[in-house]
Subunit: 320 residues, 4 copies
């Protein structure tokens, strides 16, 4: 009888999760495994909710957003009792191991389970790109393009009305997405959690820009910097200029994955099953300096990905 491997998508959804599911499933079956898809994240694992994945059940999903397995944040993954039940569930399903597709919460859960003896491979999927051990996560390039296209639209209005806009971008703890969005959208200013925001300097430069004849100015504002609406009001008070605020919100999570996201997801999924088959365990797959890479889950959990402020510098030099 074929050995069984479980696949789970967990935490916030990210575009490309389905492309990764397809790759893991098809590679797994080719390598002789029976592939079991767990429904609704770790909650489904605890509930015993799963389906058998076949070559055909992952057809036509490479270009779809979300995850066909559904996902969820599961409070029980943070308790010892919950994790013990998860271990039991893995054994009841006779799973040889678990491929977990998700962000930092999934990594933490993978770490706990691996210490309890379950063979784990983590695949990084998150629109925040905040996982140590990979230069890029599945979904990041898609969210980046979604946000940039949204700001392109806002730019039309900003220019037509000679207005200042504050645009809020996802990222509770990190400014990776905001910095890349700002550079690609040609934003004039940026606020990220990693760098102290000097609102007085921004206000003073906005006033100078107006005097120089700039017709629109857009401030890319990361979610983690506080309330974008309060920030906009303060800017308005400081500059006496008209300011509008737009929170891009949930559109950043969904949508068809970009080509790059699909390629990354396909390669990660294929690589993950190859590693599993070769007996590798308790690692996170990733891409580092342009090459597929492997990091121990323990290391990935322990370290925080470094924010590269060179993007912010280039932005400052070009947004003049």
């Amino acid at each position: 009888m074929a050995k069984r491997v479980g696949i789970i998508t967990s935490g916030g959804d990210a575009p490309g999760m389905n492309a990764a599911l397809r790759a893991v499933t098809r590679r797994g079956i080719a390598l002789g495994y029976e592939m079991i898809g767990i429904n609704r994240g770790f909650k489904g694992l605890l509930d015993g909710a799963f389906i058998n994945l076949t070559i055909r059940s992952v057809s036509g999903i490479i270009n779809t957003g979300g995850t066909i397995l559904h996902t969820g944040r599961c409070a029980q993954t943070k308790t010892a009792a919950g994790m013990n039940r998860a271990v039991k569930a893995v054994k009841e399903l006779s799973l040889e191991g678990l491929i977990i597709i998700g962000g930092d919460g999934s990594l933490a859960a993978g770490n706990t389970l691996s210490k309890k003896g379950i063979k784990i491979i983590n695949i990084p999927a998150s629109i925040d790109n905040d996982i140590y051990g990979t230069d890029e996560t599945i979904g990041y390039d898609t969210a980046l393009n979604t946000a940039v296209e949204a700001i392109d639209k806002i730019r039309d209005t900003a220019t037509s009305h000679d207005r200042i806009f504050v645009v809020e971008i996802m990222g509770r703890e990190h400014g990776f997405l905001t910095a890349d969005v700002a550079l690609a959208a040609g934003c004039e200013f940026i606020a990220v959690p990693e760098i102290k925001v000097d609102i007085n300097r921004i206000a003073s430069e906005l006033k100078k820009g107006k005097e120089k004849g700039k017709t629109s100015e857009i401030i890319a504002f990361a979610e983690g910097c506080g309330s974008s609406y309060e920030f906009g009001e303060k800017i308005e008070k400081l500059t006496k200029l008209e300011v509008r605020v737009s929170n891009l919100g949930y559109i950043q999570r969904g949508g068809r994955p970009t080509a790059r996201t699909r390629i990354l997801a396909s390669q990660f999924g294929h690589f993950a099953m190859n590693l599993f088959h070769r007996g590798k365990k308790n690692v996170l797959v990733g891409i580092t300096n342009g090459e597929l890479s492997v990091t121990s889950i323990e290391d990935a959990v322990k370290h925080k990905k470094k924010f590269n402020d060179s993007t912010v510098k280039v932005l400052k030099n070009l947004s003049v």
Copy 2:
């Protein structure tokens, strides 16, 4: 010497204003006029800010959002003194008449100016589609598609997380956009200012839907129905289900015009100059039952466009 005609874009920007500008300008020049573009709406008229428009100065703009003339809401258009100054400005610029591209504010200004003896043709441009005298305004089809594509993305997350979403759509006084968006995006519920919202019924149906196994439910919520965030909180309390709120915001105003918006804008602009040339004045151009139409500005100002609730009925019948 050629007679001069002024063109002005006024009020909130809408995609397709540039396509209309191009059509008015090129048709005007072909008919022998000198075409004067007023900058920044009526404020620019009062300030004497204008440019000469040539065949080439409107090249390459048929597919761009915003307005190359810039626009603005101008408080002075609402005072007698302001309007008198506008009349004076029209005369100082030796303008034979004024083509005004904009929404209901522009129509009101056009009405006032026409009564003061200025020859006016109004071209309806507004993402709200709320102008009496035309079945469709320039920009409407574009905003409709932008909002629908945004909800398609949100649907991915809603389905993956089995969640309820409240999505706020532009429309302070009208639900035209919200109703069409909801039908096209397959939203399960709708809240528009024209119809009393029964939150208890919605909550009760949401609970029933959950029991039937619906994986996601989206409520299309028009700006004019109050705070979408408060609405979402109430739904959460009533249903004990997880609810998320996303305000589509300013992305609905900008972006490349759709084919339909460009065609409408080109036809309106071409038609407006033909009418002007034939001595027609003080009218709004439009499209009514599939044909180009003409309504007196006075009539257009007086009447309120009727909300067609058949869309809401079809939506209710299909969102099961």
Copy 3:
């Protein structure tokens, strides 16, 4: 026992067929029918290939291209023997009637079947917009936008290289799509089967345009006007200018339906089942002058939709 109604998608696929399927199915079930989806067009009917459609089996398809039932052109629909077998198949499946979603071939098949006593409602779906009895077909607005966006991209290259482009657009017998595409994309010239193409005039104007300093010129060329490649070569010979040819090809058929296509498809499907339920038969649903309309299939088959050359006139006036 519930009465059974068959649904079939037939001929070339068009975006929005799925949205129509969803509407027909859900409205049909609400009215008490059992809805039977025939696979692969009339071929599937002859083969007895079908599925039961439920409320849930049409979930999540409102925004997808193609048709979940699959489609095909079936040679047997053109023979008496084939059509007699189709009648037999309808009876074997105990179908009360047939809702046919498709283009002119589907209409002809519907006509034949209706004369053999089958209750038929035709829903017009075709990217060509060439069906008499409706101002717009399902899929048309989507194909229009796809082609226009493609030409926007080609314009970038045409302008950067100061080149002439011939762009071939679908439409074997009609220029509806080409004319609207040309107007929306700001094309400089147009070739459609309905109007004699004067290649010498085009060549001469291209040369004049070059002298006036036009940086790019695009000729929208309908499939039905012959070989776009030969046309391009002739233009090159006549003008001694560099010409490139691009055939947009099959991308025009697929893709996510636009908002307008989805709304039209939803309304047509809903309306078709309401008509069927009220005993109406052997009609084509449509939209005429902005209102839902009904035409007898016989009339629709007999007449040819008139090409409106006003679009071509506006184009000529604006592309200067």
Copy 4:
């Protein structure tokens, strides 16, 4: 008086050239240079056609396709006489050096000029991604997404009609683009110039796929593999299955640059001017293993970029 630096876009246009122009111009001005934009590639250099670039003249172009300077392939760059005239032109314009944005032709021209004593920095821009010395060229990610989105649309029709499609993708000598497109679009087969195409194997697998019940099969076919139409006909003969051919053509060159293309272009342009300012010359900027890199033009011209067949392997393993 400020030192002058020339900027030139040359060869086939690529999305992101404008973003690079913006970065070079703004960084150059900040570093104290007068920036001269040469029109229409090397032809413009020989003709003395140029404009002064200011901070504002590159506003609003970060998100546009094509190149505002226009471009062209210039036969004279391949003759000694032509190159000598180019050197003379550089001196007449008092240019300190030349920043050349383009593909392999631009690189060759840069190499020749550098040997004649002109200070050159090359910035790689090409949708083919075929430049040695950089893992990615400006425009590549955009063309990749354009082609993948096009195939997504074709997939709708392929699936609805259970058909085989051959899709031709740009790349006269290389299969980089085709391989990445195929992986991202989930194509079933691939034909690239770097790998011998076994048409009999493809035909035999297509027949097997049909028997297994695959509903659609797409063959990604690089331009450099010959005529896609002849290939499609052969497949049809060998398989007796219906085959359609679609050549994506010029849409692959144009369009709004993706976020990644804009970021790459901004970083390359910024980096190029920094290098120039530090006295570096006769180099190609690039990105290698995730880091900005520098390669001597001479080396870049001499070497051929290696085709990575791991993409093809992953594709084969996943397209089952």
